[in-house]
C-alpha cells in the first residue's frame, strides 16, 4: 500500500535527522576550559558551587556597544552577591585577539574576564547565536536561563525587565526561573567558518 510505504519511508527519514543540540535549560551546561585575555585558564567545573553568568560578547556589535554605554552588564552584576555569582564574558568572534579584549576591558572598566573562543567551539556547544546572548548556570552546573539580557531589543523602553537579574535572583532563592528561555537579540556571533 502506497500510503504505508510512504509512512515507513518517512519514519526512517526521521531517524536519520540529528537532534537539536545547544545548551538547554534544565540540562547540564557544556563543559569548557578557555583562556581569558591575560592567558589565565577558566573552566566551568572550577566554579561549581557558584552561579555562573555567561555573556557572549563582541565589542564591535552595536547592540553590545549600546549595553556597555548604558552599563547594563556592570549594573546587573552590581546587584549580585560577589561570593555566590561569577560573571564571565565570552568572545567567539573569529578575528578577536587577547589584545583587543584587553583594550576593550580597559576602555569599559570591565572587572570580569573576557574568555577567548576564537575557534568558536564553546560558542557552538552552547548554541550562542547573538551578541549579547546570556546563560545562567546554577551551582550544580545546570543551565537555568538562556536568552536575551532584557526585553528591550530596540533600547527604547523606559522600563525594562532584566531577564538575567530575574533568573539569578530566582536561582539564588531556590525558585523556578519565570521565563527560562527568551529569544536573544542582537548581531550574529561572527564565528570562524
Amino acid at each position: 500500500m502506497k500510503q504505508m510505504f510512504a509512512a515507513l519511508a518517512l519514519g526512517s527519514v526521521f531517524v536519520g535527522v540529528p537532534a537539536f543540540a545547544d545548551a538547554e535549560v534544565g540540562k547540564p551546561a557544556p563543559a569548557f576550559t578557555l583562556k581569558d585575555e591575560s592567558g589565565k585558564e577558566h573552566s566551568l567545573s572550577q566554579y561549581k558551587g557558584k552561579v555562573v553568568v555567561l555573556e557572549w560578547t563582541n565589542p564591535e556589535c552595536p547592540f553590545v556597544k549600546r549595553h556597555y554605554e548604558a552599563d547594563t552588564m556592570a549594573n546587573t552584576l552590581k546587584g549580585f552577591d560577589a561570593k555566590k555569582v561569577v560573571w564571565l564574558a565570552v568572545d567567539s568572534t573569529a578575528h578577536n585577539t587577547p589584545d583587543k579584549s584587553a583594550d576593550w576591558k580597559k576602555k569599559e572598566g570591565i572587572s570580569y574576564p573576557v574568555l577567548q573562543d576564537a575557534s568558536g567551539a564553546t560558542g557552538k556547544a552552547y548554541g550562542a547565536k547573538t551578541t549579547p546572548h546570556m546563560y545562567v548556570i546554577d551551582a550544580e552546573g545546570v543551565v537555568r536561563y538562556a536568552g536575551a539580557i532584557d526585553d528591550d531589543p530596540r533600547g527604547k523602553n523606559a522600563k525594562k525587565v532584566n531577564h538575567v537579574q530575574t533568573a539569578v535572583d530566582a536561582v539564588l532563592n531556590g525558585q523556578p526561573v519565570p521565563a527560562s528561555t527568551t529569544t536573544p537579540y542582537g548581531c550574529s556571533v561572527k564565528y570562524k567558518s
Binding site: M1, Q3, A7, L10, A19, E60, Y185, S188
Partner: protein, 772 residues
C-alpha cells in the same frame, strides 16, 4: 534561441522596472527619502516613502509603503529575524489616515557559511507596505510619516533610525500613481496569502497528541489543491516560521510535492494552551514563479504544566485510561466511552463483528458460505469443523494483517482509520478484480479447488480448506467499509491504545465475524435444518455470482470518488481483461499438455498486461463529493466541513450538524438516503437554521482522521451536533441515525442557543448541551 529571447525580455523588463523606479524616486519630496546605516561614512541602506496615489478622495483606500534599497551583500530583517538580527520596524504617524498592518513579502533566508546561524530578511530591494484609508473628513492634504528602525547587516550590523515624511493632496477623486502602483502590485504578489484564499487546503498532523516542555515533536503538513491541480514542488528555503510562543524551533522538509515533514522542539517552560503553526510557505520554482502562502494551523495542546517536575521518572505501564486520555485531550465527547475497559471493548468488537454479517457488504459472502456449507454437510460430514476453522482462521489472519498495517502506518506517523485501505485506488481495483473473478467462478467460467473437474473423486482436501480460508479473507476485505453499530466505538478504542489492544480488538472483531457460521457447526441439529442439496444449488450459486457483481458495481462507484471518471473507466477496462483472462484460464482447464500451459500463459499475460496498462490512478483527480452531489433535498443544504466554517457558524448563533462520511461507507450512504434526506430532517434544519457540514473522508484527510480520534472514533460515519450555546460540548449521535434522533438533537442544540440569546443571564440547556 528561446532562452535568448526570454533573456532579452527580462532585460527589457528590468530596464523598464528601473526606469519606473527611477521616475518614482525622482518625484519624491526630499523628506521622503533618507539613507542610513553609515559604514565608515558610506550609507548601506536607502529608504523611501512611497504612495500609490497622487491624490486621494476622502474615505478612499490607498497603499503606503517604505522601499528599502540595500548595498550588495547587506540585508534587513523579516518579522521573525531568525537566530539573530532584529525585526524591521515601521511606525506610522498619519493624522487623518488609518494604516493597516505591515505587509511582508516572502523573505530570503541567510545562512552563515557553516550554517550555524540562520536569519530571514531582504537584500537588494524590498517594499514593505500597508493598506491606508483616508478619513471621510479629510481636507487639504494628508501628512504621512514613517519612523523606521532597522538593523542593517552584512557580516557586521549597523542600526538605521530614519524618519520619512511627505504629504498627499485630498481631492474629489483618487488618482492612481501609474509609476508607483506597479511597484506595490509586484510587492503584493510576493506577500503570502492565507492558504484558503489561494484555493489550497493545508493540514497539520502531529505525531503526538500533546506537546511536552523541552521535547522534540514531529508531524506532517499536507497541502492539497481544492480544484485538484497538482501542488507544485517547493524549492530550498520554502518555509519560514513565525515566532510561536512556547515553540523553540520548527522546520519543514519536503518529502513529496505538497507533503512536508515537520520537526520541532518546544521551549523548556512551554506555556499553556494550544500553539498554532504560523509561517509562510512558498510553492513553485524561481523559473516558473512562486506562490507564497500563509500557514496558520492548530497544533496540539501543551501538556498541563507539572508543579516541580519529579526528578525520578515513575516507570509505569501505560494504562488504557492513560491512552484514552492521550487521544482525547479535550474531555469533550461521549464521556461514557472514556471509561470503556478492555473487556467491554472486546465484547463490543465481538458483537460488532457478528453484526457485520448482516451488512450489505458481507452478506453475499455469508450467503456463499452457507451455500457451500449445505453441500458440505451432506458430502463430508467429518470435515465441516475443519472448514469452519479454516474460515474463521482466514478471517482472524486477515484481521491481524489489517491490525499490523494499522500499527505500521501509525508508527510511521500517518493517521489511519477503519476502512482506510479503501482510500487507496489500487486496493479497490484489486478487490474488484477478485470479486469479478469469484463471480465468474460461480458462473462456471472456470473452476477452482473443491469443485474439481474430471477428478471429482480425488478432492484435494487442503485446497478445499484454502478455499474456505480465502472466503474468510474476502469477508474481512468486504467488511471494512461497513461500520456496524458498536464497531466504531471498539475500533476507536483500539486505535487509541497500545499495539496489544489493537491486535486483541481486531481478533475479537474477526471472531465475531466468523461467529454466525461457526454457530451452524457447533449447535447440533441446526445444520440438519438446512435444505437438501439438488439442482437448486447450481441456480443459487449463479444468483450469488450476480450478488458479487453487484458489490463490484459499488466498488466501481467508490473508484469514481477516488479517481474520477477516468479512474472508473480504467477499472472497468481492467475488469474486462480480468474476465477475459479467467475465461482463457477456464478454457485451459479443458486442455492438456503444452496447449494447456500456453493458455495459462496467455491468461497471465492478459491479466498482467492489462493491469500495468490500466491501473494508473491519478491521486490528484478531483474528489467527487458524492454526498454533496446527491440530488436529495437536505443534502443540497450541505457545505464542505472545515473547523473555520464550523466556528463561524457557531459564532453566528447557528446550531451545527456535521456528517463525517465517505463514498465507500455504506452505512453513511444508508443514513444519508433514509434519514438525512427526509423532509422532516430538512424542515427541522431549516426551522432551526442549522448549518449543515459534510466532512468527506472518501480520500485521506488528516483533519477528519484527527477529528474522529478526538471523539474516540476511528471510522465513519460520525455525526456531531453542536450548539452555539455550548460550542465545546458537541453531541455525538449513534452510527445508525433515526429521523427522531436527528430532529431532537438539532432542536435541543437550537433551544440551548435561543435561551442564551434572549436572556444572557439564564442559560437553559438540556443534559446533552450542559450550560457553558
Amino acid at each position: 534561441m528561446r532562452q535568448r529571447v526570454s533573456k532579452r525580455l527580462a532585460l527589457v523588463g528590468g530596464i523598464g522596472m528601473w526606469w519606473v523606479a527611477a521616475v518614482a524616486h525622482a518625484a519624491l519630496p526630499p523628506t521622503a527619502v533618507a539613507s542610513g546605516a553609515p559604514d565608515e561614512g558610506d550609507p548601506r541602506v536607502e529608504a523611501s516613502l512611497l504612495v500609490d496615489a497622487t491624490q486621494v478622495k476622502p474615505g478612499d483606500t490607498f497603499r503606503v509603503g517604505v522601499r528599502f534599497r540595500l548595498d550588495p551583500g547587506w540585508h534587513i530583517y523579516w518579522k521573525n529575524p531568525g537566530d539573530s538580527g532584529l525585526e524591521t520596524d515601521v511606525a506610522w504617524d498619519t493624522p487623518g489616515t488609518t494604516v493597516g498592518p505591515l505587509q511582508w513579502p516572502f523573505p530570503n533566508t541567510f545562512r552563515t557559511p557553516d550554517g550555524f546561524i540562520v536569519t530571514h530578511g531582504y537584500d537588494g530591494e524590498v517594499l514593505l507596505f500597508a493598506q491606508a484609508r483616508a478619513s471621510e473628513q479629510a481636507t487639504g492634504s494628508l501628512s504621512l510619516s514613517a519612523g523606521i528602525n532597522a538593523l542593517v547587516c552584512e557580516v557586521h550590523c549597523i542600526p538605521a533610525d530614519l524618519m520619512l515624511t511627505r504629504s498627499i493632496p485630498v481631492g474629489p477623486q483618487t488618482l492612481v500613481d501609474a509609476e508607483t502602483a506597479p511597484l506595490f502590485d509586484t510587492a503584493r504578489s510576493q506577500v503570502p496569502r492565507p492558504v484558503a484564499d489561494t484555493g489550497h487546503k493545508a493540514v497539520l498532523e502531529l505525531d503526538s497528541k500533546q506537546l511536552s516542555p523541552g521535547q522534540e515533536f514531529s508531524g506532517t503538513v499536507t497541502v492539497t489543491s481544492v480544484n485538484g491541480a497538482p501542488v507544485p514542488t517547493a524549492e530550498k528555503d520554502f518555509f519560514v516560521a513565525e515566532r510561536i510562543p512556547g515553540v523553540a524551533k520548527v522546520s519543514l522538509t519536503q518529502t513529496a510535492p505538497g507533503r512536508y515533514a515537520l520537526k520541532g522542539k518546544t521551549e523548556p517552560d512551554a506555556p499553556q494552551g494550544e500553539p498554532r503553526l504560523k509561517g509562510v510557505l512558498r510553492l513553485g520554482a524561481a523559473a516558473s514563479g512562486f506562490q507564497p502562502l500563509e500557514v496558520d494551523l492548530p497544533m496540539v495542546p501543551f501538556a498541563a504544566a507539572q508543579a516541580a517536575a519529579p526528578a525520578t521518572p515513575v516507570v509505569k505501564a501505560p494504562s488504557i485510561k492513560d491512552s484514552l486520555a492521550a487521544v482525547k485531550p479535550v474531555a469533550s465527547a461521549a464521556p461514557a466511552e472514556s471509561s470503556l475497559g478492555l473487556g467491554m471493548a472486546l465484547l463490543f468488537a465481538l458483537l460488532g463483528g457478528a453484526l457485520l454479517n448482516l451488512m450489505p457488504c458481507v452478506f453475499p459472502v455469508l450467503a456463499l458460505k452457507a451455500y457451500g456449507f449445505t453441500r458440505m454437510v451432506r458430502q463430508e460430514q467429518g470435515r465441516v469443523g475443519a472448514h469452519a476453522a479454516a474460515y474463521a482462521g482466514g478471517i482472524v489472519a486477515s484481521m491481524l494483517v489489517l491490525a499490523g498495517a494499522v500499527l505500521a502506518v501509525r508508527a510511521g506517523g500517518a493517521g489511519v482509520g477503519w476502512g482506510f485501505q479503501f482510500q487507496e485506488p489500487l486496493f479497490v481495483a484489486a478487490v474488484c478484480a477478485v470479486l469479478v473473478a469469484f463471480s465468474l467462478n460461480l458462473f462456471g467460467v472456470f473452476n477452482v479447488g473443491l469443485d474439481g473437474t474430471s477428478l471429482a473423486g480425488k478432492v484435494d482436501q487442503s485446497h478445499g480448506l484454502m478455499h474456505s480460508a480465502g472466503e474468510g479473507v474476502l469477508a474481512v476485505v468486504l467488511a471494512t467499509p461497513c461500520s456496524a453499530p458498536l464497531l466504531g466505538t471498539a475500533v476507536g478504542f483500539a486505535f487509541a491504545a497500545g499495539p496489544f489492544t489493537v491486535l486483541a480488538v481486531f481478533t475479537a472483531l474477526g471472531l465475531g465475524l466468523a461467529l454466525p457460521f461457526c454457530l451452524l457447526v457447533l449447535v447440533p441439529g441446526l445444520a440438519q435444518k438446512l435444505p437438501k442439496p439438488g439442482a437448486w444449488m447450481e441456480r443459487f450459486k449463479q444468483v450469488l455470482g450476480f450478488a458479487l457483481l453487484g458489490t463490484a458495481v459499488w466498488l466501481v462507484s467508490v473508484m469514481g470518488g477516488l479517481a474520477g471518471v477516468d479512474g472508473m473507466t480504467r477499472l472497468l477496462a481492467f475488469l474486462v481483461a480480468v474476465s477475459l483472462a479467467t475465461w482463457v484460464y477456464g478454457q485451459s482447464q479443458l486442455q492438456e499438455g503444452g496447449r494447456k500451459w500456453a493458455s495459462v500463459t496467455v491468461a497471465a499475460l492478459v491479466l498482467g498486461g492489462s493491469g500495468v496498462a490500466a491501473l494508473r490512478f491519478d491521486d490528484a483527480a478531483p474528489a467527487a463529493h458524492g454526498a454533496l452531489a446527491s440530488p436529495s433535498s437536505t443534502m443540497a443544504l450541505a457545505a464542505p466541513w472545515s473547523e473555520e466554517a464550523v466556528a463561524s457558524a457557531l459564532a453566528a448563533g447557528k446550531p451545527v450538524f456535521i456528517d463525517f462520511t465517505a463514498d465507500w461507507c455504506l452505512t453513511c450512504k444508508f443514513n444519508e438516503r433514509t434519514v438525512l434526506a427526509r423532509d422532516e430532517v430538512r424542515n427541522a434544519f431549516l426551522e432551526h437554521q442549522v448549518a449543515f457540514f459534510v466532512g468527506d473522508w472518501t480520500r485521506r484527510d488528516a483533519r477528519i482522521t484527527a477529528k474522529l480520534a478526538e471523539h474516540g472514533r476511528a471510522g465513519v460515519p460520525m455525526y456531531l451536533v453542536m450548539s452555539p450555546g455550548a460550542p465545546d460540548k458537541p453531541e455525538v449521535l449513534s452510527e445508525l441515525l433515526t429521523v427522531d434522533s436527528v430532529v431532537d438533537s438539532v432542536k435541543r442544540a437550537a433551544e440551548c442557543s435561543k435561551s442564551r440569546h434572549q436572556d444572557g443571564a439564564k442559560v437553559v440547556c438540556s443534559a446533552a448541551f450542559p450550560r457553558p
